[in-house]
């Protein structure tokens, strides 16, 4: 098995504060990795480094056979293969749902408008929003916006999707619809997924591996069920105790 994402002794500092310390991580194609950990533990930073939104300070990072740091053209190549879904959706507010999804294929994959629109329609249908294609983001609920954002990320046909707390900004009744879409992507397409979330049910059901981060380090990892049942470190026990009570 070849790993599609490979981190060796990766460190990341902002100014003088190091927020990732010697992170080693190897993710195989088709794997669904769930990352949990307390606030400030570096989960977002880790995802952002993988997608080159942040530059690592030291160590080795190889994404889809491209070693980072790399020049701008290769970084765009990486981003085409590694999509990202954000906590705050970040849909383009002046574009309809359909335009949001078609924008990537059109500008990044250089497709014709007709081709891109076709892809976008299919994906909106897949996330259950076919009849909302002409709505602007401001006219959609949080859950619907996040589903459009997932369709948008899928539209450039990446090999990997990164999710940074995709349901944390949602009202409880909308979390399910977004998780369902994510589950179906994992099941149907065999997409490699790295998901930062506190939805332990999702982790147990879909995750191949669960990673617990604390203070910029990977503290524990393993099969989700086992890690949740037998946490070794006090910090993870503590953390799981907190998450369950939500």
């Amino acid at each position: 098995m070849s790993s599609i994402i490979e981190l060796k002794k990766v460190c990341k500092s902002f100014g003088n504060t190091e927020v990732l310390h010697n992170v080693d991580l190897s993710i195989q194609e088709g794997e669904v990795v769930v990352i949990i950990g307390p606030s400030g533990s570096g989960k977002s930073t880790l995802l952002r480094c993988i997608n080159c939104l942040e530059m690592i300070t030291s160590g080795e990072l190889i994404v889809d056979d491209i070693r980072i740091p790399a020049e701008q053209g290769r970084i765009r190549q990486i981003r085409l293969e590694v999509g990202m879904v954000f906590q705050q959706f970040n849909l383009f507010p002046h574009m309809t749902a359909l335009e949001n999804v078609a924008f990537g294929p059109r500008k990044a994959r250089k497709m014709s408008k007709a081709e891109a629109t076709d892809i976008a329609r299919n994906l909106l249908d897949k996330v259950g929003l076919a009849e909302f294609e002409n709505k602007l983001p401001g006219q959609l609920s949080g859950g619907q916006q996040q589903r459009v954002a997932i369709a948008r990320a899928l539209a450039v046909s990446p090999k990997v999707l990164l999710f940074d707390e995709p349901t944390s900004a949602l009202d409880p009744e909308m979390i399910g619809e977004v998780l369902d879409v994510m589950k179906s992507i994992a099941k149907d397409s065999g997409m490699t997924m790295v998901v930062v979330t506190h939805e332990m049910g999702f982790a147990a059901q879909v995750g191949n591996r669960l990673i617990f981060m604390d203070d910029g380090r990977i503290v524990e990892e393993g099969k989700p069920g086992e890690v949740m049942k037998n946490p070794h470190s006090e910090r993870l026990k503590d953390f799981l105790g907190h998450v369950k009570h939500h």
Partner: protein, 240 residues
């Protein structure tokens, strides 16, 4: 107090000629000012995260230089009165040219000096409007676009640009009106714009009330046209 309406009627052709000149200076001035403003406004944030990623290699000193030049321009214009700028361009600049080159008969037409002054002046204020609007666009949108593999240029054109432009309209309207009224200062370099026309008629018939009333109404009409067209544009773009 006697108010002679006929005085206004008689002065209308001359005032209209002045208003026409005012309008021409304003339109040319703010059009050029938009070009300068967009360049300097983007220049002031060149190489910062507001326009995507921080530059690497040789682009770093280049973007710093662009930032310094843009800031120097904006601060110089904002820090000096427009009337001094006009005087400088019209009276002092040709002398400066003569002193440093051999061109003996260098002259700037008063009208040209007026237009250039508005271009430079409006450009500096528009630069601040452009900068403010671009910086206010949610950085997450740029990140979302970049994470799709879309180039920074495309994102500036299709995402940041339209969103920022929509936010610029109200303050731009304000600046356009200020620039239009600023043209009245060109009375000091002898441009026959509306205020100067009023002044000349007044000097010959001493009908201050009628003339200045007519002049004020003409300014009001022009500023209203400007304000209304921007309001119209704003409404058309108010879709998100």
């Amino acid at each position: 107090m006697d108010f002679e309406f006929s005085v206004i009627v008689e002065s209308i052709p001359a005032l209209l000629a002045g208003a026409k000149l005012t309008w021409i200076i304003t339109v040319l001035g703010i059009s050029g000012g938009m070009v300068f403003g967009i360049l300097a406004g983007l220049g002031r944030i060149a190489g910062t995260e507001s326009l995507g990623e921080k530059p690497h290699g040789i682009f770093m000193p280049i973007s710093s230089l662009i930032r310094y030049i843009s800031s120097g321009y904006v601060e110089t214009v904002r820090g000096t009165p427009i009337i001094v700028q006009a005087m400088f361009l019209y009276f002092a600049f040709p002398m400066l040219v003569k002193a440093v080159t051999d061109i003996e008969r260098f002259r700037i037409e008063a009208l040209t000096a007026a237009v250039i002054t508005i271009i430079l002046n409006a450009g500096a204020y528009i630069a601040e409007i452009v900068r403010g609007s671009v910086v206010s666009v949610n950085k997450g949108l740029l990140e979302a676009g970049m994470s799709l593999g879309i180039s920074r240029f495309q994102l500036i054109v299709h995402v940041i640009g339209p969103i920022a432009f929509r936010r610029m309209i109200p303050p731009l309207g304000n600046q356009f009106i200020i620039s239009l009224k600023d043209t009245s200062l060109f009375i000091v370099i002898g441009v026959g714009e509306l205020t100067r026309q009023g002044q000349e008629i007044m000097a010959s018939n001493f009908r201050a009330l009628e003339i200045w009333l007519a002049v004020a109404v003409m300014y009001l009409i022009m500023t209203t046209v400007l304000a209304m067209s921007l309001r119209h544009l704003e409404r058309r773009m108010k879709i998100f």
